[in-house]
């Protein structure tokens, strides 16, 4: 077998979720970039245009899935990188719960922003 380096141990639930979110993000990140930089140029983005997009249920739900997948994949990736660097004990626990809290806050704020964009106030 050829030699290869993997930063994750196989078999774990988090390992699997990291890959599932990766697959989701391949589609959603490419779609997001293409739509908001090439179809609609970022400089021409207005609240009205954003609201028109976010008022579509399918688009709204796609963006929520994108937010949750990106937050999990990114924050879990940071945690994996820190574990790779060899943190253990209290620093590892602080990183774990600190990053989990940061994720929850980001997702909560992201959902609040998504509703504001769709014209609802939370």
């Amino acid at each position: 077998m050829a030699e290869y380096y993997s930063s994750f141990s196989k078999g774990g639930r988090m390992w699997f979720l990291q890959r599932i979110t990766a697959v989701i993000l391949i589609g959603t990140l490419a779609f997001h970039f293409f739509l908001l930089h090439f179809v609609n140029h970022a400089a021409e983005i207005t609240f009205a245009g954003t609201q028109a997009r976010m008022s579509q249920v399918g688009y709204f739900l796609t963006m929520i899935v994108f937010l949750i997948a990106a937050t999990f994949h990114g924050v879990n990736g940071v945690y994996n990188a820190l574990v790779n660097q060899g943190i253990s004990g209290t620093p590892k626990r602080v990183a774990k719960y600190g990053l989990a809290l940061a994720s929850l806050l980001l997702i909560a704020q992201g959902i609040r922003v998504a509703f504001a964009m769709a014209g609802f106030s939370l």
């Binding site: 970039f33 140029h41 207005t46 609240f47």
Partner: protein, 129 residues
Amino acid sequence: MAQTYDRGAVEDVGRWREFSAGMWAWVLHKFTGWVLVGYLFTHIAVLSTATGGDELYNTTLQGLEALLVVRLLEVGLLAVAVFHILNGIRLLFVDLGLGLERQDQTFYASLIVTGAIAVASVPTFLAGV
């Protein structure tokens, strides 16, 4: 069957001159991952102006987009995202045991395609600044 041998720890970045293609792929995937997760938090912070009404949202986004440095950073962000996606697809195939004998070539292909897309996007990103 390929030989396995100890290339040393990729975390020991002081010996970067000795790094193989696979180790550079690992380093670049980590680096682009850190950039993207940092940007994610920044992006939600900027978009949070939507909770303050349409005028605040519009002036914030248009004010940022009027800056050349923001446009250049967006090209950089695109390059970072494209590389992370392409190398991520490569990693998914590696995890599935596919293309193990062509890992170096697929890494170089990821770099070349990333460079081509980033360069091709420059006119779009710099339009009207």
